[in-house]
Amino acid sequence: MTETSIAIDVRNAVKRFGAVTALAGASLTIRDNEFFTLLGPSGCGKTTLLRLIAGFEEITEGEILLYGEDLGALPPNRRPINTVFQHYALFPHMTVAENVAFGMRRLGWTKADIEARTLRILDLVKLGDLAARRPAQLSGGQQQRVALARAMAPRPKVLLLDEPLSALDLKLRQAMRIELKQIQKDTGITFVFVTHDQEEALTMSDRIAVMSAGEIRQVGTPREIYEAPLDRFVADFIGETNVLDATVRRGSDDALTCHLTNGAAFPCHASVPPEDGAFAHVLIRPERLSLVPEAACDTGLTGVVDQAVYLGTDIQYGVRLDDGPDVLVRAQNVGADAVTHRTGDRVGLAIAPGAARLLVD
């Protein structure tokens, strides 16, 4: 990867509001043409980081580089970066076309250029026939597209999106995910997307940074984040998961085995293999576990079905392990003839190959 392919380089960014530290030294690089997501719970600092990039907040320490140039204390109107606001902030006293043209006018584009670009960009977001409307006359989804069009029109180097889908209802949100991703691909603009919705992050992003308490916990592709979380926080935040306490045994062939206190043992994997005999957390996603007859169980994980919840596409079981913790198991609902288990049934658990992963913390 060459230097020029890095769109945004955040170096040890710190933001304090008085005594409150909103961002405690975040570093990350966002590549050119990338759909990059900042994911985390409320108050984790993701919006603060976005606002630092946009220039709405002044950075306390550290620096942010845009294509190798320090943004410093440049005000937002001097940064070739545009934002799609959470509640869109469409100017209510202007038409859709005027909203879209606003940025280009400020940049001093010629009238002809502005007109051509406005038409083109409104076509892109499928709003060509609503150019003369006022924002108040549009539906939520249409307003969302105008906000997107307005931010993309002046050809920003980077587009920032602050939870732009959160105000839409579920169906529309799902449709917009696909559309947003498509627009990003077609235009090749670098997107920095902020969300607290992990499903949104997983479906759209090229890479995700998971944040918590003002720090970046992990950066990786959706698959890495989901399947190989670096720590307990990431594992818990992304999807449902079972975390078990175990002692790790290192075999002769460097194969790792987890031993639970109740005697169960099964093979596991780790990105950084720990010492023999080390204590560790083992992560197993519920959908990577399956229920098998007790007799056919080779992991030693046996127990009683405590709970069975019908979820439509899935059936979720809560299993109380013998002398051990409760675990969640998710079985796909493959049809009426699927084997179902009832509360009180004794069962064994099978683990899909490679599904048990050690956490480093």
Partner: protein, 273 residues
Amino acid sequence: MRRRLDIRRYPGFLPVTILCLVVLYAPLLVVMVYSFNDSLSITRWGGFSFRWYMDIFTGPESAKFKDAAWNSLTIALCAATASTTIATAAAVAMVRGGAFRGKALNLALISMPIMVPEIVTAVATLIFFSAIGFTLGYLSILVAHIVFCIPFAYLPIAARLQGIDGSYEEAAQDLYASRFQAFLRVLMPLMAPGILAGFLLAFIISLDDFIITNFIKGAGIETLPTAIFGAVKQGIKPNIMALSTIMLSVSILIVTLSYFISRYGRQGTKAGA
């Protein structure tokens, strides 16, 4: 049956409200009615007539009223314009200036003209003007009016600005508008109903002022209220009732206007609404 179950309802509160409105409106209505009384005596009803309205414009006191009206209107116009401008700047600083030291002090300063009793302001201003040798007259009235109109202009403007989502200016700046352009092209159009309401209220407040004007006007200049007060001292004459009716109609008209402006303006100030 439902009414009796409604726990919010208190018997007797409606009559009190009606009483309240009767007390507020009865004197005004009575004066309005009697201003059309075709009789020299203000007590006896002598039939309907416009003669006292004619009297204001053509009668022996018409020149005095005309001067007073001209002074009142021009002072109100200038004072409202100046105070609205000052108040708009102050509101932007107070509402969009973040937290800063001395913010409470600034707010106290802005609202001081409302806090200090009018008669005290009048005394202080008179003393100050005479101490610095400021000639009492048109200009002294205008300056004093600008001062006490500021908080009245400020309140609706600041309230309006508080209701405008901060992301609008940020969006404007994000789209390459300078701070001044963001104000001029985005914030000010959105604030317009508040600014207009503030202007109208300041205008009425200036038009209505009696106590302060009476103290600092100096000899030889009258505004409508001081002219009316002077006339009333010799007893209430029917032409004063006609003049009062015109003035109160103008006030009611302006307030009604500002009410509908602010009602209309309330729509669409929240982002995404």
